[in-house]
């Protein structure tokens, strides 16, 4: 859908930005890009919202003109932001995005869009009703290597019968301030929601809409999965995604076709290796570029790091506010990933972990969260 651009024509005023949720995602990932936008006069953070005043105070040291708030309602009535970045825990995304949209603000919601499809659908309905955009922060989509790979897949350069293997995993090291992300009741799930939302979106960007064929994870009782494998079918490719919070997986995406192979790294934006079947690997130059500023005729460039990808994503979202251009990932695309995750959890089975003894695996199977859910039902 198209949304109205309410700015006066030619306005060069910085876009007014509110941030809901002032935790690690903002401080560790977005803050540097937002500061760069402020220094260039293209965006201004006007409101910081978090029930924890120490967090708004800490983030406020980076954004001196922003006002701190403990509730969303106060922030919107006092600052009337044009764009709201929702970076609260995933279970709260729907509540905060709907509130922002109802207040007339466009929304950039951190991934995952929501932890259940019903919440994501509610967010989409709120965006349509408010005639505002709902963008999802899938930063890996800003990788120019991905754009080049998509072009190769679509052109048939890899040949038919594409098979892929996607792995992303390391020992968990993300700063969190509570144990909420590690409880099924409060988080809804673990590594599938965290890294899986990226994986499914990344693969969908390459291959189209996914179908979940099989899914297994290691979550037990009230715990959340730290390892999972999902087998996926796409219109022109099939394969698996494996994700981990506690194993050093060999991270990357390998695509094998009848004619050639590709290798991408999901958070090294310009990484793309290519080889004809049986040939030598070679780095493939990517020609794709992205807008680097919010001028009507922008300079163009390509992100080299994950942090730069966040900046490019924000630039494109600000261009959507100013000129009505498309956002990198919209709510419909976000919903696709959430529906796939829902499908995974609905058919979850215990995952075989090769370091467990037979007796341990049997006990882990008995404790699998899907069994306790079934018993409770």
């Amino acid at each position: 859908m198209q949304w109205p651009v309410r700015r006066s024509k030619g306005s060069r005023e910085p876009t007014r930005i509110a941030i809901i949720g002032c935790g690690a995602a903002i401080a560790g990932l977005h803050a540097a890009a937002l500061r760069k936008l402020e220094s260039r006069g293209t965006g201004r953070v006007v409101a910081l919202v978090d029930p924890d005043r120490s967090r708004t105070a800490a983030l406020g040291r980076s954004f001196r003109r922003a006002r701190p708030f403990t509730t969303v309602a106060e922030a919107f009535s006092a600052t009337a932001p044009e764009l709201t970045i929702v970076a609260t825990p995933p279970a709260l995304h729907a509540e905060h995005a709907v509130a922002a949209l109802a207040a007339g603000s466009h929304v950039l919601c951190e991934k995952p869009m929501a932890i259940r499809a019903a919440d994501a659908e509610r967010m989409l309905a709120a965006a349509a009703s408010a005639r505002r955009f709902l963008a999802i922060g899938m930063t890996r989509r800003m990788a120019t290597g991905l754009l080049e790979a998509r072009a190769l897949v679509v052109s048939g350069s890899l040949g038919d019968n594409l098979r892929f293997a996607y792995r992303d995993g390391a020992v968990y090291d993300w700063p969190v301030s509570t144990s909420a992300p590690f409880s099924r009741t409060t988080a809804g799930g673990g590594v599938l929601i965290d890294l899986g939302s990226h994986a499914i979106d990344y693969l969908s960007a390459l291959f189209g809409p996914p179908s979940v064929i099989a899914y297994a994870d290691d979550g037990q009782g009230e715990g959340v999965e730290t390892n999972c494998v999902v087998e996926l079918d796409f219109p022109a490719a099939s394969g698996f995604a494996q994700l981990s919070w506690n194993q050093p997986l060999v991270t990357g995406l390998d695509i094998v076709g009848e004619k050639a192979e590709l290798r991408l790294h999901p958070f090294r934006p310009d990484s793309l290796l290519w080889r004809p079947r049986g040939g030598r690997w070679q780095a493939r130059e990517t020609r794709a570029t992205l807008a680097r500023d919010v001028e009507p005729r922008p300079e163009r460039g390509a992100p080299r790091t994950y942090y730069e990808a966040i900046y490019y994503q924000l630039v494109q979202v600000l261009r959507a506010v100013r000129y009505g251009e498309p956002v990198p990932v919209d709510g419909e695309q976000g919903l696709t990933a959430v529906r796939a995750m829902d499908a995974c959890y609905l058919q979850a089975t215990p995952l075989r972990l090769p370091w467990l003894t037979a007796a341990e695996q049997s006990r882990a199977d008995d404790r699998h969260w899907s069994r306790t859910r079934w018993l409770a039902a």
């Binding site: 144990s179 297994a216 715990g223 919070w245 194993q247 994950y306 090769p354 370091w355 695996q361």
Partner: protein, 369 residues
Amino acid sequence: MAGGVAIVGAGGFVGARLVEMATLAGRTDVVPIVRSFRSVGRNAHLGVRHRIADASRPDSLENALAGCDVVVNLTTGRPADILPITRSVHAAAAMAGARTVVHMSSATVHWQVDTPGLPDDAPPRLDHWMRYARQKGLAENFLRERMRDARPAIVVLRPSLVWGPGSPWVMGPARDLQSGSAYLIGDGAGVCNLMYVDNLVRSILAVAAHPAPVSGFFHLGDDEHVTWREYYGALAAGLGVDAATIHAVTMDRYRVGRRDALDSLRSSSAYTWLKERIPQETRTLIKLRLARARRQEGESSHGRPAVTREMWELQTTRYPLPIDVFRATYGHHNETSFRRGIDASLAWLRFIGLHEPHRSALSMAAVSN
């Protein structure tokens, strides 16, 4: 809860496996303690409640030890923190009235096992070139002093190389074998003193379960004596790597290589000072450029072995670490054989995608013991 077993450092490699094994054995008396919520992530699948405490502050740790008779110190981290955290854990355990402190040291405090029958309580080599080993030694000396106290009993464990799924002693050799840069010093006849991670966990739990633990120092190792050639050969066979591609290094003595020179630079305080002052975004960019340079260089030096001092000394070890004293005191707990350990390690390498990367983990079978 009385009689609990506190695992300080439950988010580390050994700690996480211990909590997993205990949980899957149906135990509810094991209390994982970690420094921050982020360390809960590693074992989040178990649904076990973790306590949060700063192991370097006895007051913080004392509260977390409530209800625990046994305190197992499995903390890892910077060498500079080893001694202060050892002191703190001991103080907190004493304040909490714990019966036993189990302290994880390392056989590396000996430098090399260069005599047969090395006594379990041999003093650590404080002139060791490795800072980590010196700090482990200082921590041991502190605990040796405290062993004179009536309570708590202090059991210092000195395992050899801890290997198995998740261990760098599996990952490193596997990567080297695949890249063609693996090497054996001489003919690979040096003794490879290994301790399979599950065997180590069982030994720790045996001490924790002992009604009257004996204070002292104890070597820990697997039952079988294998050479480095046998260890690398077993991994190579499982990975489908021709053992003939393993380089034979014939140097008569160690000479400083580039990898050690770089490691030495990285462990300097000037490096740490500088690193902490460079913004994360810039660090990422520098890392990316260095990785590219390394890749390019790797292509030209593919297959060349980079001998490190640590590996030189490990591979020229002449004797097995004696493990009889622990066995006589606490019983035999090495249930996993070398062959089983190799099988599980190879299955894990497939699981993480280092071997047979196009195979889905859904199609892999579990390893049984």
